[in-house]
Symmetry: C2
């Protein structure tokens, strides 16, 4: 496994070198330098979970057979396409959210000499996906499905981002727009498709499967992605920051978090008033009042219940699947996230 990660990182170097010498563009020395720095800053520094899970899933679909060198390379390349997609979204999301840090370094647009050029860098990251797909997959029978898949998932993610942006920022802060229903929609589109469905869909295509026959796999993974984001929202407030590796700021940021929509559901009139008065403000006293209300409403127990129910529902859906290989893929995703602490 440690070995697979180093193979995966080697593939990054190969893909980067290709992109820096793409014959479809005449690089100047300065633009090649710029691009290399931009890629190294934004693409490989994450946890790489999404990317590595393409390789893992493909192996499970192949029932643990040894992969050929080509299969290893191609599944890593698809994994990197997802990491590139993620980098693209994050570079632009940080500008839209006016964020300060990402992966414990300044956001790319905050770097001197970058600024709004980061918008075009985001666009380039997105375009690289199709350069990689074209170079390495153009001759494969599943090429057109792969391109359609990336385009559809990108569309869904940007659409989820749209409802997130217009719900959260539209004029003044207005909690009355938040509900479980809108939370589910934001999370499903903005996160679940690209983080959970896309890696498995890539592996299925490489294994020769037709995605139209796998609507059930998509549904399970989308549900898992929603569960994952609810955990994320919960941990943002209730996890030990030491373990989590960051200090949550969803309350300050007026996020449409699962906790706040669950709170709204359970609040008395008086409690609703407290929430409206304190949510989305950065002073510690306001945050403390929201946290006290979350305790009062016993959102920890609500989350435990949600987690248990989700897990059981997902497990049942997975066990009902006719293919043992696909069951193994889905179980491995579920095992990685169930009761996670960070």
């Amino acid at each position: 496994m440690a070995d697979m990660k180093s193979t995966f990182l080697d593939v990054y170097s190969t893909l980067k070198t290709d992109l820096l010498h793409d014959p479809a563009f005449e690089f100047t020395h300065e633009s090649r330098q710029w691009l290399e720095r931009m890629l190294d800053y934004n693409v490989p520094g994450g946890k790489l979970n999404r990317g590595l899970s393409v390789v893992d899933s493909y192996k499970l679909l192949k029932q643990g057979q040894d992969l050929t060198q080509e299969e290893v390379f191609l599944s890593c390349a698809l994994g990197w396409c997802i990491e590139w997609l993620q980098a693209y979204f994050l570079v632009l999301d940080d500008i839209m959210d006016n964020s300060v840090t990402r992966r414990s370094q300044p956001c790319w647009f905050r770097k001197p000499q970058v600024g709004m050029i980061a918008i075009n860098d985001g666009i380039l990251l997105r375009n690289h996906i199709h350069r990689i797909l074209k170079k390495h997959f153009r001759g494969k029978p599943y090429y057109v499905d792969l391109v359609d898949l990336f385009n559809e998932v990108e569309f869904q993610t940007a659409s989820g981002q749209m409802i997130d942006l217009i719900t959260t920022f539209d004029g003044e802060k207005d909690l009355s727009k938040y509900s479980l229903q809108i939370h589910r929609r934001i999370v499903q589109y903005k996160t679940a498709y690209y983080s959970f469905y896309l890696p498995v869909a890539c592996a299925l295509l490489m294994a020769g499967e037709n995605l139209e026959n796998h609507a059930d796999v998509k549904n399970v993974l989308v549900d898992m992605g929603i569960y994952f984001q609810v955990q994320d929202d919960y941990l943002d407030c209730f996890a030990d920051p030491e373990t989590l590796g960051k200090i949550g700021t969803d309350i300050e940021d007026f996020k449409c978090s699962w906790l706040v929509v669950k709170a709204l559901e359970r609040c008395s009139e008086k409690q609703t008033k407290i929430l409206y008065e304190n949510y989305g403000k950065s002073e510690p006293s306001n945050v403390a009042k929201v946290k006290a209300l979350y305790k009062e409403l016993d959102l920890e127990a609500a989350f435990m219940e949600y987690e248990k129910e989700s897990y059981e529902k997902l497990k049942k859906l997975i066990e009902a699947h006719q293919s043992k290989e696909i069951q193994a893929v889905l179980k491995s995703f579920l095992a990685k996230i169930y009761k996670r602490q960070k």
Copy 2:
């Protein structure tokens, strides 16, 4: 022709309605409203030259045969894909350039309640191209080539934008980075591929042609695109603002214009000094000094000479082409831009 424009606009309405009811996303009422307003604001308000030229070119390739209703619809839809691509680039370019107006209205990101959400709107515009292609062209034998074409041209445009941004904005203003060579590169990638090559390439694909057999067509159109941009640079300074419909600001904006690179080529040491001291400043006295220098160096004559040479070279290349239909397409492009005053 007036009729074709109204047909073209009808197709916009159809495509927009499809996008507002795309089954790949669950719209909320607010997000559907947002999207409709965003599309109407940014997509149809330009001159539509690029889009309409797909229909015109396709007709010429068909030797003036009457097009079927399906052919009219599909060529219009491809024309709109180019207009969508243009809208996407302009929405983002205006943010990066910190521009104020576009098509005589405020830039989209300057509208109240929009701001940085415009970045995601740009992304959505880009994604719509593939939604349109998938809905209407998925069953066509040339579908995969069409998707590859749009992806490649987008990549080239973003790459041209990258060298434009890093050449123009990198730290302090530095004229020594400007040359005919870098001007040609910026213009070729940032403008020529999507404005000149892409419409014809779309028409060729619809007509069943393999683009690999048409490298010569690409070269002619890219050269025409460069010529078009040189005209644009020339008119920015020398055209009557009344006729041009706007007041040029390339000198104030420190643009890598054909005029400044041509001037640098012709300047004495003393004149170079004047250019360095006055280019890229917004005070009228600085601008006036640059304009006086342009007159002194007789850039008007240099442009006339460039225009004549370009025209003759392009005409020769076109007449050497073996296909009369393709000649007709290329000639119609050239006729539209030769000696244009706006």
